[in-house]
Each structure stands twice: as C-alpha cells, then as structure tokens.
C-alpha cells in the first residue's frame, strides 16, 4: 500500500514513528548507536500494526530465537530497521519493538556465553588428546 | 488539603448545585422584577404595528447602527462580535457542553469537531484581550469603566481560558484543571444575575421596548 493511503486511513501516529525511525538511522550511521522503539507503548490498534508491517515490508533476513518462548526478527525493506516480536512459551505476544541497528543486539552472542562455550570446547579438545 | 479528585467531585456536585440555585433564582427574580414594572398605557392611536417594530429592532440592532459609530468604535464592535460569536460557538457547540445541556434541559443538537472549537476558543481569548486592552488604553472607556466591568471581564475570560487549558492538559492532573474550569463557570453563574451579564436576557426586552414604542409611532428604528 502506498504510504499516503496508509497515513490517510489510519488514526495512529504512523508519520511521527517513521520520522523517529529516520532519525534513529541517522544516529546509527553517525555514532553506531542502536535505538529500540517500544511499540507497546504507542496507541496502535491491531489494524494499524498490520498496516505498518505491510508498509515496512520484509527484507532479506529473518531470524528466530528460542529462549523463554519464541522471538521473531526480520529486517524490513529498509536496511538496519528490524521488526522484533517476542512471544512467551504460551505463544502469546509479550513485546513488540522496532530496533534500529546493524544487527539486533539480542541476536548477538553474549560475552559470558562465548567464554563458557570456549571453555567447553577447550575441554572437549583436551578429552580427544 | 483537598485532592484534585475531591475538588472535582465537589464542583461537579454540591458546588454545581449552589451555583445553579443562585443562577436560576437570581435570573427569574430579576427578570420578573423588571418586567412587572411594565409600561404606561399608550393611549395614542397606533400608526403601525408595535409588534413588528419590536421584532425588527431586536434583529436590526445586531448590525452596527451607522457608519459613524462603526468608524468611531471599530475595535469594540469588531472584537465584540468575534468574542460573542466565538463564545457561543464554544459554549453551545462543544460536545461535552451539549451533553451537559442535554442532561439538565433535555434538549440537544449536533456539535462541532474539536479543532474548530479549539480555533474558536483562541479567537475568543484574543478578542477578550483586545477588548481589555482597548478598555485600558482608551481614556474615555477607562474613565467609564467600573470595578464590575473588570470583574466580569475576568469571570468571562477564566472559563474560556481554563477550558482551553483543560482541553490541552496544560495542568496535571487533568482532574484539577477540569475542576478549575467548572468552578470558573460556576462563579460566572453566581454573579450572572446581579451584574451587567444580565444583558444576555435584558438586551432583548430593551430592544423590544424601544422598537415597539418607535414602531407604534411609525418610526422605522
């Protein structure tokens, strides 16, 4: 759908949101700073959300995280703008955000986990020798 | 200290009652008092209908009398019109106000979208400010002005101002500013019957009398 159509048919503050995303992209380019926009705190009806999803579209990347229930990530048609949905183990939505980042921060491996993994691997290698 | 919620409950309840009683009682007593004085019977033969003359004058006086007056008092006339029209738009066409009228009098009509009301409010406020400044700047007007003139200016200004502030949530919590708005209207209601504000009603009688007397004499006033 064309953006004008969406803006005309929707009561939600879609235009300001798009502006915010735009500023966040600038920040990302200039300072390598990520931005998280919490969609739960904005007055969007389910219909508005569908329209927003439709407008932002789906890009090349889609990822799943399975921790405390599923989480879905996809890059929108706009590179660096990620759509994120967290579900709990009952499969109900608990949080919906847009992250402006090179890669969503939660997808990156955590340092502690890497350390742990390295130790485990070293032990494994030792056990071979 | 009274909380904003208590304050709102008070102005929506007991205080509204008090204001309503004073307003209705005062207006009826004063109108009856004035009307019952009556007029001396006119024994002369009527040249034309007094009724037609009365009605004509009620409406004709809505227009500035002549170009001379218009030129002399442009500000008062112009700002006066903006104020009165704006005030009535805001008072009678804002949906929450209509609901109040419906609840008290049982009649209702369609309202206007809030952006229009908002614009009318701003215009009303500006017009009121212009009128006040004019009153202070113009030496004749200032000389003629009494305490009451400034008092009722303030009491008319406050409901419009607080209404605007309530709508835009200028004061938090909202209950407080809404309560202030209602209270300011109640103050207006209370002083209404005893001040020049009575012109809301008396203007029609005064014009009617003038028009009817002139009409009977065949004068096109």
């Amino acid at each position: 759908m064309h953006i004008n159509q969406i803006l005309n048919h929707s009561n939600a503050p879609i235009a300001p949101l798009l502006n915010e995303i735009c500023h966040a992209l600038e920040k990302l380019l200039l300072y390598h700073e990520n931005t998280l926009i919490d969609l739960h705190s904005l007055p969007f009806s389910p219909h508005d959300i569908t329209q927003l999803v439709e407008f932002l579209g789906k890009g090349e990347v889609e990822a799943y995280l399975y921790a405390l229930g599923k989480s879905i990530f996809w890059e929108t048609n706009f590179a660096g703008v990620w759509w994120i949905e967290h579900y709990n183990s009952e499969e109900s939505l608990i949080n919906r955000t847009i992250e402006i980042a090179y890669c969503p921060s939660i997808l990156q491996a955590q340092t502690e986990d890497i350390q742990l993994g390295k130790q485990q691997l070293q032990q494994l290698i030792k056990s071979f020798q | 200290m009274m909380s904003a919620v208590d304050f709102l409950a008070w102005v929506r309840g007991p205080m509204f009652n008090i204001a309503l009683i004073i307003f209705i009682f005062g207006v009826i007593v004063r109108l009856l008092e004035m009307l019952l004085i009556g007029r001396k019977p006119d024994y002369s033969e009527a040249r034309e209908s007094a009724f037609a003359g009365g009605v004509r004058t009620i409406f004709r006086r809505f227009m500035p009398a002549d170009t001379g007056t218009l030129q002399r008092s442009t500000t008062v006339i112009f700002a006066g019109y903006v104020f009165h029209i704006g005030f009535f738009i805001v008072l009678l066409l804002f949906v929450p106000h209509i609901l109040l009228i419906k609840d008290t009098l049982g009649i209702q009509w369609a309202g206007l979208p809030t952006p229009i009301i908002d614009a009318a409010t701003v215009m009303t406020l500006l017009a009121l400010l212009v009128l006040l400044i004019n009153r202070l700047v113009n030496p004749i007007l200032r000389f003629l002005s009494t305490f009451q003139d400034y008092l009722i200016w303030l009491l008319v200004f406050l409901p419009v101002l607080t209404g605007y502030m309530a709508f835009h949530h200028f004061i938090q919590p909202y209950q407080l500013v809404l309560a202030l708005h209602i209270l300011s209207v109640e103050l207006l209601m209370i002083v209404f019957p005893f001040t020049k504000l009575m012109h809301t009603f008396t203007l029609f009688f005064a014009r009617w009398y003038n028009g009817a007397i002139a009409g009977r004499k065949g004068v096109k006033a």
Partner: protein, 361 residues
C-alpha cells in the same frame, strides 16, 4: 530470605542469557525505562537475593490476587512472581491457622526492615470486628507488619484509596493504607483490579534499584499511571472529529467511535490499560466497546453514574431546578407586586400642584 539470586533460579530452570535479556528488555519496556538501562536491570536481577514478600489481604474481593495469578506462567510477570519469596499470603499459601501466622512472624523477624509488604483491600476503622485474621484486627495487623517493612505496595483501589468499601456511606469506616501508615514509603497500584504486569514491574524495579520507582501525586508509579487513558486511546481521533457512539449498539458503536457520550471516564483516568492492555495484551475495556469506569482513581464509585458523560453534574439537577424556578417566580412576583403597590401608593399620594400653591411660597 533464601540466598539464591533470581539469576540462579532462572539458570536452574535452564533459562539462557538471551532469554534473560529478553525478559529484561520486556521489563524495561514495561517500566518505560530507556533501553540503555537493560544491562543495569540484568545485572541487578542476576545478583540480588530473592525478595521476601508478605502479602496482607483485608476488606477485598480477591479480585486483585485473581488478576495477578491468572497471568499464565511462565509469562514475564509469572517469572518475577515465581522468583520472589512470598512468605505469607493467606489465600495462596498452603499453611493455615497458627502455622500460617507463624510463617508470617518468622519472615518478619528474619527480614526485619527488608521485606516488602503488599496489601490488598481497605482497612475498616469502625468496629474492628468487621474484618479480622486469626483474631487480629486488620488495623493491628497492618500496623504490626508495616513497622518492619522496607516499603509497602498498596495493590488495588481498595488498599490504595479505600475503593468499594469506602464508597458512600462507608459503613465500615474503611480507609486506605496511606490514610493509616505515614512513616513508610508507600506505592499505590490502584485498579479494580490493577493490571497484573504493573505489580511485577514494581517489584522488579524495587529489586533492581532498591527503591520505589518515580511516583505521581497519588503515589502511583509514573511509568504506568503517568498517562491519561484518553491521551493514549485509539478512539481519540473520533473524539476530535466529534464522532460518538450514542448507544452501545448504534452505527457509531459498530464503527468504533468515541464512547464519551456513553460515560467514558478515560479523560480523568490515569492508567496503562490503553497501551499495556489486558489478558496478555488482547484488549482493554474501551477496545471491547465499553467506556472506561475510571477504576484506578480515588472515589470512582462516587463519581456519578458510569454511564453519564463526564461533563454532566454528579447530582440530579431537575428537582433542584424546578424548585428554584418556583421559588424564584414566587419571590419575583412578590417583589413585583410590592413595587406595583409602591407605585400605586405614590400615584395616590401625588397631589396636584396649582399655580396658587407655587405662588404662595
């Protein structure tokens, strides 16, 4: 207080760091904290011992407890709930009678000055016999437990503002927690019932930062009660356009227009319903077609009809108007009559002055 940290018990349940971060991110979002605080929340929750909580229920309907426990575990709110040490809650605990009371006394002694006290229900101050637990009046128990609490969370409108029991004519002399306890930090989480996640978020905040979150003038957490329902309502654009539902089943209602005319109290209500929503984010009253009752505000029971618009007086004005009009007419007629009499008298007493009279002088 057991010395296990929340992090420990999460890990025991096989919850990974990413999962934990997901949980922290959701908590931050709930608390309206900037995403930059997520690491801080993660650190605190990872390292803090389980918080001891004592829960007292007074004049209440158990609706608040229902609301909180109905959130399906293990949701985010369930997580926090699972990882506090709820040392006393007379509806939920297995122990009964003196064993229960002993548990309470033990927890109070062991964690004196550190436990969190949660209260639901209002406190009767009339006859103490109106509500007692183990023979102890609500007032006495509140005072006793409050004395050793680090902070008090008043859950639900009854505990926060008096609620239904306090509604006129308030037969039990019901009072809120903050009416009675003045020397402890109190946080009000009103609502009838409150949104489950609000309570857990408040606890999370308390655990993370060791203090209560920022509060509004009624001691409610700003993150949830800082915004007006009306300001966050998705029906607001219809309010602005002047499009209202006039009944619950007319065209306007079907089209989802504003519910102001049907008595919606959204404009005077501060709560998170419009954004956090209910039943795992399914909807909230206004989305289901019913106006807001204003249940998170003091005296919402006494604020006039739920179905009358906010701009309408809370009293019945018709009788008042009729009687005043009659009285006004009576007085007006009397005054008019007196004036007429005065006039007639004046006319009667009027003596015609002749030329002679004038010349006589």
């Amino acid at each position: 207080m057991s010395d296990k940290t929340i992090g420990d018990s999460l890990r025991e349940q096989g919850i990974s760091r990413r999962g934990f971060l997901k949980f922290c991110a959701t908590t931050a979002s709930l608390l309206a904290l900037p995403p930059a605080m997520i690491p801080q929340i993660a650190y605190a929750l990872e390292n803090t011992p389980r918080q001891s909580v004592i829960w007292l229920s007074f004049q209440e309907c158990t609706g608040c407890t229902e609301s909180l426990t109905r959130s399906h575990a293990p949701t985010i709110e369930g997580l926090i709930f699972d990882h506090i040490s709820l040392d006393y809650h007379h509806t939920l605990q297995a122990a009964a009678g003196s064993a229960a009371e002993r548990a309470r006394e033990e927890a109070m002694k062991k964690n004196h000055g550190k436990y969190l006290l949660i209260v639901d229900g209002s406190i009767p101050t009339g006859n103490p016999g109106y509500s007692t637990i183990a023979g102890i009046s609500n007032l006495d128990m509140l005072k006793e437990v409050a004395a050793g609490a680090a902070a008090i969370v008043a859950i639900g409108t009854c505990a926060a503002f008096g609620g239904l029991p306090k509604a006129a004519p308030n037969p039990t002399g019901a009072m809120s927690v903050s009416d009675l306890i003045t020397d402890k930090p109190i946080i009000n989480v009103p609502g009838c019932p409150p949104i489950p996640i609000v309570m857990t978020a408040v606890i999370a905040h308390f655990i993370t930062f060791g203090k209560l979150p920022q509060l509004d003038n009624l001691n409610r957490p700003m993150a949830f009660y800082g915004q007006n329902i009306h300001d966050r309502c998705y029906r607001r654009p219809f309010y602005e356009k002047g499009l209202f539902a006039n009944t619950f089943d007319d065209e306007g209602a079907k089209k989802g227009w504003c519910l102001y005319k049907l008595g919606c109290k959204g404009p005077t209500t501060y709560n998170a319903c419009a954004t956090t929503k209910w039943n795992d984010g399914v909807s909230f009253p206004i989305e289901s077609g019913h106006g807001c009752l204003g249940c998170s505000e003091p005296q919402f029971w006494d604020g006039g009809s739920f179905y009358k618009p906010l701009s309408v007086p809370t009293i019945k004005v018709h009788d008042v108007m009729a009687y005043t009009a009659i009285a006004g007419a009576a007085v007006g007629l009397t005054v008019g009559g007196l004036n007429a009499m005065k006039k007639t008298n004046a006319v009667k007493q009027h003596e015609t002055v002749t030329i002679d009279d004038l010349e006589r002088k």
